[in-house]
């Protein structure tokens, strides 16, 4: 089964003076992705630029409006995702646990629609 690991965290923890925290987490993600790739489990993924770069198209009552920020204003923001192929939920949860993260945050594990269900 394919699962998306959606990473929600407080991006301010990576905003230090010399960008060290940022470089460190990127290196950790590279190692994490490399481990997934080595086991043949990775199907995709991306890191996202910070939430202040987001623009949201809101639809309501048949109208589209633009909003100069992320979908929801909250401390933890969607910061990136992995798409992995593993046998079951427990395996996906195990990878979600191992996912690098500098501060507090959450990893939402969502099965991917596979066309048969």
């Amino acid at each position: 089964m394919q699962y998306a690991l959606l990473i929600y965290e407080d991006e301010t923890v990576y905003r230090d003076e010399n960008g060290r925290a940022w470089r460190e987490i990127i290196a950790q993600h590279e190692a994490f992705a490399a481990e997934l790739a080595e086991k043949g489990l990775i199907r995709g993924g991306a890191g996202l630029k910070t939430a202040n770069t987001a623009t949201t198209v809101r639809r309501g009552a048949g109208q589209c409006g633009l909003h100069d920020g992320p979908f929801a204003e909250s401390k933890e923001q969607l910061g990136g995702f992995y798409l992995i192929e593993v046998p079951d939920l427990d395996a996906a949860l195990a990878w979600a646990r191992k996912l690098p993260m500098a501060g507090d945050g959450s990893v939402e594990v969502r099965p991917v629609i596979d066309g048969t269900t």
Binding site: P87, D88, L89, D90, T117
Partner: protein, 415 residues
């Protein structure tokens, strides 16, 4: 005749058969449907067994399993027809001879696996116990709804949602590896605790939970057997045995509840107490204490009483509750502890502790009002005691509890 035999067989073997089917086909709905169809088949086929045109196969569980397995394969084939358009040869219903041959087959016991599926942390907590009771213990939706005090449609919807989540999220039909046990066993034990609490509340054992008290003995035995290095599992199995051992003494001749300290130990079931003791000792040997071991130890303290001539073990019980508080500091533990405080240090101190508890959370909790009423009565505050008894009685206690409360209330009204 065949009907009631069948109901009984479905009730007794449903959990094992559904668990085995779920493990084989990895689909809870399919397992349930196939089992239901097998029961329909049984209703027609079983009267053919036995000499007088009524009876059941030698091994009803194996019969139901092998027929349900065939029905499940039929269903899968039918599903395949829709997408692949392969013709589906109709299968005749099993003959009595088929069933005789099938009798020899063994059903693998997959209940533990099914419990882990039902109690997966991905399933909403309020659905875990319900799903376990439905699939593993074979209770009807109506019975579970009554036990959890929710409307039947609400509960049915909860079950549907939980099964859908298990299927769509890809929950594994496996007993998890040891590295996941601390978290997963916690969820399983909490679920079984909730399930057992419902069975235990009913002192008379005559209500809708009577059947699953026995099922809990069975399930906890399976759990303890398969996870012999998990002390909390062993302790929970011990706890259920201690509690069930005392069941014959929980009612007096008038049908009223008998409090633990007044129960005649001669009526307790010794073989269950012996089993419980062996389990609790095995747990202690692991040298990894936990809350369920302490709870079981409280039961053990009571069950070590040989006769009513021996003083009740209140000081030991109090010390164990003190230790339990370091694991589980919740209001119910504090309420139970207060009962022991009353016996060791007097009702005044106990009442102070009870009144310190959150009375809002306990507003609709009958035992809280019953304990308060008793303490107030012992302190001679009869007016307040009567009011507290009335609160407890207004919360619809089980018949045995009601009789006991009415008797105590009567004593407070005419001291």
């Amino acid at each position: 005749m065949a009907r009631s035999l069948l109901d009984q067989a479905a009730r007794t073997h449903g959990g094992r058969v559904i668990a085995a089917l779920a493990a084989k086909f990895r689909d809870l709905d399919l397992a349930e449907e196939a089992f239901a169809e097998a029961c329909l088949n049984a209703a027609q086929a079983w009267p053919a067994f036995g000499a007088e045109g009524g009876g059941e196969p030698r091994d009803p569980a194996a019969w139901l399993y092998s027929v349900a397995q065939r029905r499940a394969l039929d269903m899968l084939r039918r599903r395949g027809v829709r997408t692949r358009l392969v013709p589906d040869p109709p299968q005749p219903p099993p003959s009595a001879e088929d069933a005789m041959i099938d009798d020899a087959r063994l059903i693998p016991d997959e209940r533990l696996r099914l419990i882990f599926v039902c109690c997966h942390p991905a399933v909403a907590p309020d659905a875990r116990a319900a799903l376990t009771l439905r699939l593993v213990c074979g209770l009807s939706t109506q019975e579970i709804a009554r036990a959890f005090l929710v409307a039947e449609p609400t509960l049915a919807q909860r079950l549907v949602r939980a099964k859908r989540k298990i299927a769509e999220a890809g929950v594994a039909f496996e007993v998890p590896g040891p590295e996941a046990w601390p978290e997963r066993i916690g969820a399983v034990l909490s679920t079984l605790e909730i399930a057992y609490a419902k069975a235990h509340e009913d002192a008379a054992g005559a209500g809708q939970h009577a059947g699953y008290a026995k099922e809990m003995l069975d399930l906890t035995a399976v759990l303890a057997d398969l996870l012999p290095d998990e002390p909390e599992c062993l302790a929970f199995a011990a706890l259920v045995r201690y509690a069930e051992a005392r069941r014959p003494a929980r009612l007096d001749e008038g049908g009223a509840m008998t409090p633990l300290s007044e129960q005649d130990p001669a009526l307790w079931r010794r073989p269950l107490i012996d089993q419980a003791e062996a389990l609790l000792h095995a747990a202690a040997r692991r040298r990894h204490p936990g809350p369920r071991q302490l709870q079981a130890a409280i039961h053990a303290a009571w069950c070590s009483r040989a006769s009513l001539d021996e003083p009740p073990p209140w000081p030991t019980v109090l010390a164990l509750y003190d230790a339990l508080l370091t694991w589980r500091d919740d209001a119910v533990v504090r309420l139970n502890r207060a009962v022991a405080v009353a016996e060791v240090s007097g009702p005044a101190l106990a009442l102070a502790e009870v009144d310190w508890l959150d009375s809002v959370a306990f507003r609709d909790f009958g035992p809280f009002h019953a304990v308060r009423a008793d303490l107030l009565a012992r302190l001679g505050r009869d007016g307040e005691a009567l009011a507290a008894y009335d609160r407890a009685l207004a919360l619809d206690p089980a018949p045995a509890e009601r009789l006991w409360l009415e008797r105590r209330r009567g004593r407070a009204a005419h001291p």
